[in-house]
Amino acid sequence: MRDRLTLSTLGPLAALFALILLGAGLNENFLSAANVTNVLARSAFIGMIAVGMTFVITSGGLDLSVGSMAAFVAGMMILAMNALQPSLGVGLPLALAGIGVAILVGLLAGLANGLLITRAGIEPFIVTLGTMGIFRSLVTWIADGGTLSLDFSMREFIGPIYYGGILGVSWPIIAFAVVVVIGEVVMRHTRFGRYCEAIGSNDKVARYSAVKVERIQLLTYVALGLLVGFATVLYVPRLGSASGSTGLLWELEAIAAVIIGGTALKGGFGRVWGTVVGVLILSLIGNILNLANLVSPYLNGAIQGVIIVLAVVLQRRKSSAEGR
């Protein structure tokens, strides 16, 4: 990959820098520590999910359910914490219990997706379209159509998971960075990543190379579920609530980030750090639109669309020399 650093890899970065310049030009607070922290921290949820999605897509899969899954995991986490509060009391044990539940539920949800896809042999698109409806419905049902809210005292207690940090860097940013670094290493330097790329480029060849195709595919969905769980652990402390509208369209955003970052939708080639750039591009677009009174807010969606396409044009232009 190294020798290609010059070409295709510059594309998404160029788009990102263009956006940063645009933002800085429009508003002097854009580069303020507070704003940078805000943008990075709020990118963390989608970002962690998108890292998992990178593996799923690289190995030729797709997961439309992550947004609903996040809502479901958040709902279960809140439910569990509220239920355990009388016995555990407000404090670290309860927080850990909540985190455990979130990670466990995420893992199980990912496992469910993965098993349906690999064992029953149904298209990922269909399976996860189905579970997308299922997870979201369950949250709405559990919340009785409303919002599941964490008990206020506990909310205060776990708030620092989102708002706190060390050395001025907030936890979501740190967690995101850790996930990205691990993801990049796993993708580039471990068997798992190599197998994902192999399966995505030609699953038959992978099978004929003694790669346990189904197991790897299953693992990608489980890993994604886990990351949805982690993302939720960051999400819940922020507002302390979950409802049917939590995580709405996150799946689209995560997939878009992956693809803007240069991972091929058909699989076979994954770039974790590209995904990070994709996530940041998407977050920045929203941030810039909020910071600048460009036009009617009704047109925000249009501008967002134009920038997404332009970002990718910029990237593909640069990399077309490669013949990809």
Partner: protein, 294 residues
């Protein structure tokens, strides 16, 4: 009264707090009425978009033989024709909250007052902020009713010298409101008050303000009377001085009134507008429903 009457109820699905509350009240009322009146049957359908809602109504007429329809239109315009078709088929029609675009179709109209919702909030701002004060607005999903509320709000503060710095869409969503508020806070060094046209958004905005450490700088007015917010007003939270009601329970009124037509001799037709009132620490207790999910 031995014949069973079927009442169809068609409402938007619970995609945000207010609609969640409305869904809860609808189900609660139906369960209650079904228990009380064995001769009444209810059919409840929820829809995430207008086309689905039209399909729901068609299905009620074609397969469930409804005698009456209680409908909260997802949007007025697209539902006007289909609801008129129901009316033309001789059914009793109750319209809730969002009026149809052609007057005179419905037998019964029960609604909140969007215009008042914006106006009451605006009047509070006008009365409680000095000229030159700066405020930001969080709007809902772009819809006619959002437009009505915002227009009424702006008209109410007109001439007060209050400056509206920005009004972006928070889509009646906590997360979106949190993000937008964060960005407002980055952008404007001085904000005196926030009008979040919905309590879900107020909650998101509050979290962003708290994080930025500017809690003492501004207060927030939300809307629709979410129980957590009402509770805090009762407790005298300086950040949340007041709220404006827009009761989700209006659906209960509508269903009950419609049911009344079949279980009593009382004539039920007309318009019931449930006004928006200002909730203050003094009167908050009467708007507090701890059992509602909203």
């Amino acid at each position: 009264q031995d014949k069973t009457h079927v009442i169809g109820v068609s409402i938007p699905s619970a995609t945000h707090g207010f609609m969640g509350g409305l869904n809860w009240h609808a189900q609660d009322t139906i369960a209650r009425l079904e228990a009380t009146y064995p001769q009444l049957d209810f059919v409840l359908a929820t829809a995430g978009e207008p086309t689905k809602q039209v399909a729901d109504i068609e299905d009620m007429v074609a397969t469930r033989n409804i005698d009456a329809l209680v409908v909260l239109p997802f949007e007025s315009e697209p539902l006007t024709g289909p609801v008129k078709a129901v009316k033309d088929a001789g059914k009793f029609v109750t319209v809730v909250d969002r009026g149809l675009s052609v007057p005179g179709i419905e037998d019964l109209y029960v609604a909140g007052d969007n215009e008042a919702f914006g106006r009451v909030a605006g009047e509070y701002f006008k009365a409680n902020l000095p000229s030159g004060a700066k405020i930001v607005v969080l709007r809902g999903i772009p819809t006619t009713l959002d437009n009505e509320r915002v227009d009424a709000f702006e008209k109410a503060i007109d001439g007060s010298g209050i400056e509206v710095l920005d009004k972006q869409h928070g889509d009646w969503n906590r997360d979106k409101a949190f993000t937008v508020m964060q960005d407002y806070l980055s952008k404007y060094p001085k904000i005196d008050a926030v009008w979040a046209a919905d309590d879900d958004m107020a909650i998101g905005a509050m979290a962003a303000i708290e994080q930025a450490g500017r809690k003492d700088e501004m207060w927030i007015v939300g809307g629709a009377g979410m129980k957590e917010i009402i509770k805090r007003i009762m407790d005298g939270d300086p950040q949340l001085p007041v709220n404006v009601t827009y009761p989700p329970a209006q659906i209960s009124t509508a269903i009950e009134l419609t049911a009344l037509k079949y279980v009593s001799a009382a004539p039920v037709t007309g318009r019931f507008i449930i006004g928006s009132t200002l909730v203050t620490p003094e009167n908050a207790a009467q708007f507090y429903f701890p059992d509602s999910p909203f």
